[in-house]
Every structure is written in structure tokens, then in C-alpha cells.
Symmetry: C2
Amino acid sequence: MEETATETVTAPADLPFDVFSKACPSRGTLEHVTGRWGSLTLGALYEGGFRFNELRRRVDGVSEKMLSQTLHALERDGLVHRDARPTNPPRVDYSLTPLGREVAERLVGLIHFMEDRMPTVLAARESYDTARGAR
Amino acid sequence: MEETATETVTAPADLPFDVFSKACPSRGTLEHVTGRWGSLTLGALYEGGFRFNELRRRVDGVSEKMLSQTLHALERDGLVHRDARPTNPPRVDYSLTPLGREVAERLVGLIHFMEDRMPTVLAARESYDTARGAR
DNA sequence: CTGTATCCTGCCGGATACTG
DNA sequence: CAGTATCCGGCAGGATACAG
């Protein structure tokens, strides 16, 4: 059932996908992954499985609509697995696919790095603002 | 502009910055970095220094306005260095700061990974679409 | 609880014109 | 070349209601 990423080492020579070209489908996927809610959703799911409303609470500020949309896009791209149980009340669990986990791992690394360097960023901003705002 | 949140929000660990809280300034910076044009701009600059219009050509599809905006945001966050020479004709070079380089490195890793796995993603999409669209 | 459907507004972002 | 200023259309995305 879990027909997952089978370690396809396809096309290491020439790059058929170039995200810098606006016509390339990889750009769309990159935007799903790095988008405003996509990155946070993947980051949250890296911590474990979540139900819909748990995810909503974890990703502070996301609306039902956008969370639903985001999850669908990520599921379609094969990054998120959706497990719906036909119980009453309904229960749906979201988790990462193996591919999704690899992506999320990189994302989480970036997120932690940014969080860690925020003091530097904030200092840069202040410096920038005083230099610009003063004249 | 977003205001600095002095309010301490629930952090999972002892980290002062939690991107999952909507009030945290780290979320704004993450969005600059991972945003539609931010990620591609940092990715391009990872290859070396660029002038404004070189960058415009490299990042296919970006408008003058958005490139300008993106560069300003990244410069303000201390990720991009802007070197303007008062020559005639004017020449402005953009490059990464050390911090920007570290961020871009992770971003480029993610981008390459996504490009590499696009066949898997495309297959997942097709599978998803046939399952959903067929009924 | 887990979502879709609908409406509506703000702002993202493209086009154009202008400046130095 | 390297930008800013302005206009404005489209759509991202929030609020609400409702369905299963």
C-alpha cells in the first residue's frame, strides 16, 4: 500500500526541472512547500500526526479554508498522507509521507536556524531603519 | 510593517522565537525568505553577485516592482548586501551577507531536492487526480 | 469533528510612466 | 542602468454558514 518514494535516482546528469523558469512545474511545488501556510504545516507535521483541528490550533492564525487548501495541495504533491476513518464523529489524521518527511526535515532546519538568528535579523532591521528613517 | 511583539507567547522549548505563533517576528522573516520571490532571489544570489537587471533575467517572471521590494526586505533583514556605485551609468551589485549565505545554502538544498524529486511529485499528482477526477 | 460553499475585502503584484 | 510612483485588476485568504 505504501508505494512511497522508491529512491528514484532518475536523471542525475541533466536537470529537466529548473525552478528558475516560470513555466517549470517545480516552481509550483516549491511554492506549496515554502508558501505561507505550507511551510508551517509541514513543520508542524514533522512533530507527529495531527488531526485537522489540532493542526489548526498548532498553526496559529490559519483559517479553516486555507488549512484545507494547503493540506490538499500537499497531499496531491505526495508530501502529506491523509487517513480518514468513517467513524462517528469523523476522525481524520494527517501525517507526512517519507518524501514529505525529507522535505519537512530541511524546512524545520531552516525554521530553527531562522529562529536562532532572529536577534541578528532584528539588529539588522534596526540598523537599516535608523539609517533610512533618519534622512 | 509589522511591529515587534514584546509579548511572550508560548514557546515549546526555551527558544524566545516561535514561528508557529502568529505574533512572532520570526514568521515575517521566514515569509521573506521562503516567499514566492524571496526564495528564488536568494537561490540566484547563491550563485554569485548580480546586478539588478541580471537578477531580473535570472528570476524568470519577476517584475521590477516585486524584485525591488524583495531585495529591500532581504536587505533590511540583513540577508542581502547592496553595493551602489555612483558611476554613470549607475551600477548596483547585490550579494549575500554571511547570514544570507547560510540561509540560501539551506534554501538551495531544498530547491535541488525538490527538483530532483519532481518525477515522484508528478506521479503522485497524477495518481491523486485520477482517483479524484475519475468519479 | 471535518470539512465544503459562498461572499467579500485587502493587498499582491503586473503594467506603465517617470526620475536620476 | 537602476530604480521609484501610480494605477488598478485579480485572487489570496478571512468570516460565515452549512453539510455529512
